[in-house]
């Protein structure tokens, strides 16, 4: 009888050890892996694609031909792809400086662009371009100039060529800023060196970047064109990058960016999620990402065409995007104990 309290104490202790998973996941290593193996390469690729696009556009403007236009268009696709894969990593200083708007804002404001080109009283120079809204100088604006019907009339008028050259020049500089901020201005180091109270905030920053992108993909990039907000009536005009017919190309890059954020690095996000969770959601999430990427590949690059010819598969892609968003914003956020912050997307 005298031994009963010690016996109870020992049993309780053993029970504790048996029922609690060990919580020794190295979050600092996770942040460091994200910094160097995941996020830095993504911004390096964006930074490389900006000048590449500018070079190809300048070549086209110097020697206008359908071949050089095709090259410039391909360079634009590569730039858009690089941007799409880096979109989950827009947070912190990148977001404070609105780089996601200056690079990726869509749709293009074609009337503003055409007004600038046709109004010869305006001097087209780098200052003028800087003063334009991001809708008139982002990737979408370059897309409009390179892919819309007006691009078929070669060579471009002098003012159209000037506008395109200046806009691409501006965009190339903007596309180098994330890498500069991340690698040279110490944002990446700050992220990876976070400790104490800041460590959770760093994880929360990236998680929210992923969640906001997943929400935008599901709701705006797929759901809206699919008529989810409009009685099922398709709105093909609301797809992203309609002139380049590259909506699914960008979606695929977005899914790949999410997959990189999840799988790349050692340790990776999947390992962290699994260490905090005892269910199948992380594995299902990875499978859904892979399925979405495969589906994008089978649908081709153009969402407008897919809506017309493969509506069922687009619906399937929408369901997958919903499941991906739900897993991130509910299941992952819940086990990480992070607060999901609403996106600053303008909701258009």
């Amino acid at each position: 009888m005298k031994r009963l309290p010690s016996l109870l104490a020992m049993t309780s202790f053993l029970l504790l050890l048996a029922c609690k998973k060990s919580d020794n996941f190295d979050k600092t290593a996770l942040l460091q892996a994200w910094q160097t193996e995941v996020i830095a390469p993504a911004w390096q690729e964006v930074a490389a694609q900006g000048p590449h696009l500018a070079t190809k556009v300048n070549l086209f403007l110097a020697q206008p031909s359908h071949a050089s236009l095709t090259d410039a268009r391909e360079a634009w696709r590569q730039a858009a792809r690089a941007w799409g894969a880096a979109e989950p990593f827009v947070f912190g200083e990148m977001k404070s400086q609105y780089l996601h708007w200056s690079i990726g804002r869509s749709p293009a404001n074609s009337s503003s662009i055409e007004a600038s080109i046709s109004d010869s009283s305006r001097t087209l120079d780098s200052l003028y371009i800087r003063q334009q809204s991001s809708y008139a100088k982002s990737l979408s604006a370059i897309e409009y100039l390179l892919f819309a019907d007006s691009s078929q009339q070669l060579p471009f008028s002098a003012r159209r060529a000037d506008y395109l050259r200046l806009a691409v020049q501006h965009l190339a500089l903007e596309m180098q800023k994330p890498q500069d901020i991340w690698e040279n201005q110490g944002e990446g180091q700050r992220f990876a060196a976070a400790e104490g109270y800041e460590l959770g905030s760093a994880i929360s920053e990236l998680s929210n970047g992923m969640i906001n992108l997943a929400q935008e993909m599901s709701r705006k990039k797929i759901g809206k064109p699919l008529g989810k907000e409009n009685d099922g009536i398709f709105l093909p005009e609301s797809v992203e990058h309609p002139d380049a017919h590259f909506s699914i190309g960008l979606l695929k890059a977005n899914f790949e960016g999410l997959e990189d954020a999840f799988l790349l690095g050692a340790p990776n996000l999947q390992a962290y999620w699994e260490s905090e969770s005892s269910n199948e959601v992380p594995a299902q999430f990875a499978a859904n990402l892979r399925a979405a990427i495969s589906l994008c590949e089978s649908l081709g690059d153009d969402l407008q065409a897919a809506l017309q010819n493969q509506a069922d598969q687009v619906e399937e892609l929408y369901d997958l995007s919903r499941a991906i968003y739900l897993a991130l914003s509910n299941d992952m956020a819940a086990v990480f104990g992070i607060t999901v912050l609403p996106s600053d997307n303008d909701g258009d």
């Binding site: 504790l16 029922c19 979050k27 109270y197 969770s277 269910n279 509910n330 299941d331 086990v335």
Partner: protein, 434 residues
């Protein structure tokens, strides 16, 4: 019965109650100024286009911006009145009414400790805490007393004991005992904190803290009630609430609980504070309670309500932490970690379907709360239905509860325009996931 009456009427030195009033006054004033200084009057009361109202309180008008600031200023003035003991009963009554009015403004802001402050302020309207060390007693020496009947001491103690014991009983949940949830999630997210981090990361900490939290809530009112255990119990109060203040963003709650526990001490134990008494040159007569039957009736009804109301969850199907019917006003403190996603499917009068997202209209802090609380999901559905003249509206609602995989919270085939909030079982809420 005679012994009980004698015990209740026995007069005790009033020092702990005076200190209690001063601490409360400081907390009332501090929390009010903090709220204003952070811009929360604008953010929480005035900016939102839509407010979630408490069921049955929709009729309560919301003040215009100018009136809102005027009322808030009046509430701060009342808090100052409580602190200084100036026009004490009016100040406390006014504070109770205005504080409660602001709490009823927006359901998303509900916190257990705000509810506790409302109840305490109501109760203290009846207790003559201005009988010494107060502006009232300074100008009216006849008010001055150094002793009050025991029942005045017991009123706040009983309320505090109910809070703690019911908070312990609410922890008799499988999640709390066998999964250490939601502490496991919260502590894991804080395992990088300085000093405490390694302890929080240690495997059994979640369970130890969960179980210790239960025993703390259950035993602390008893520990504070007995002289021998009181210093230790108060030390636990300080340590426990200091830790919760460090680990969780729960505003002034830890300080409120540290402050109000002082009421358990005796005048002998707090003797060094006797310098706060005003000089008194008359002999005290036994305290005379005005309208004793009316006051007794009010206290009986008040405490009966406090004892019974938290049990209403037993009338409803499913775990209260999931369906939340009977969750509020029941001292269910820190029991759930929920994250939700929600949008609505609206069918208009022509049968056309449209998806609506609450994030398009609601403030971020409202969105965060409403996405997993069924009555708010319903209230907003009805508002959307009214605004869009809908024929039907359905909720696509997914909630992750205490680390479980997301599950549907609301029946997606239930037209929420036909669903009812109220005392009846919410048949439009789906059963909890396993």
């Amino acid at each position: 019965m005679t012994a009980i009456k004698a015990y209740l009427r026995q007069e005790r030195e009033v020092l702990p109650l005076l200190l209690f009033r001063i601490v409360l006054g400081v907390l009332f004033l501090w929390s009010g100024i903090r709220f204003w200084a952070k811009g929360w009057i604008e953010d929480f009361y005035l900016s939102p286009d839509y407010h979630f109202r408490f069921w049955g309180w929709d009729w309560l008008p919301l003040a215009s911006p100018q009136l809102c600031y005027f009322l808030y200023s009046l509430m701060l003035l009342a808090a100052l009145g409580v602190l200084l003991g100036a026009f004490y009963r009016w100040s406390m009554a006014l504070y109770f009414l205005l504080f409660t009015y602001f709490e009823l403004w927006e359901k998303c802001l509900y916190l257990n400790h705000y509810y506790f402050v409302s109840l305490l302020a109501f109760l203290l309207c009846f207790v003559p805490l201005h009988c010494n060390t107060s502006v009232d007693a300074f100008f009216r020496p006849s008010l001055r007393r150094r002793h009050l009947p025991n029942y005045y001491f017991l009123l706040p103690k009983f309320l505090i004991a109910i809070l703690y014991i019911y908070a312990a009983l609410a922890k008799l949940e499988p999640d709390w005992w066998f999964r250490a949830q939601p502490l496991s999630i919260w502590l894991s997210a804080r395992s990088s904190y300085p000093i405490l981090g390694p302890i929080l990361a240690w495997g059994p900490t979640d369970f130890l803290m969960s179980w210790a939290g239960f025993f703390y809530d259950l035993l602390v009112p008893f520990g504070l009630s007995f002289r021998k255990s009181r210093p230790w119990a108060y030390l636990f109060v300080i340590l426990f609430h200091a830790m919760t203040a460090m680990l969780f963003s729960i505003g002034l709650f830890p300080y409120v609980m540290m402050g109000v526990a002082l009421v358990f001490f005796s005048a002998e134990e707090l003797g060094r504070f006797r310098f706060i008494y005003l000089p008194q040159d008359h002999l005290e007569r036994p305290y005379r309670l005005y309208w004793p039957k009316l006051q007794l009736a009010i206290w009986v009804v008040f405490f009966s309500w406090q004892l019974l109301f938290p049990w209403r969850f037993l009338l409803y199907e499913g775990p209260v932490c999931w369906q939340e019917q009977g969750f509020r006003f029941s001292w269910r403190v820190m029991l759930v970690e929920k994250v939700g996603q929600l949008h609505y499917r609206l069918i208009d009068q022509n049968g056309r379907q449209k998806l609506l997202y609450p994030e398009d209209d609601l403030a971020a802090w409202q969105l965060q709360q409403m996405r997993f609380q069924p009555d708010m999901i319903l209230a907003y559905a009805k508002d959307l239905g009214r605004r869009y003249g809908a024929r039907a509206i359905y909720a696509e609602s997914w909630v992750s509860w205490n680390g479980r995989s997301s599950a549907r919270l609301i029946d997606p085939n239930y037209n929420l325009l036909e669903a009812e909030n109220g005392w009846k079982n919410w048949d439009w809420v789906l059963p909890a996931p396993d």
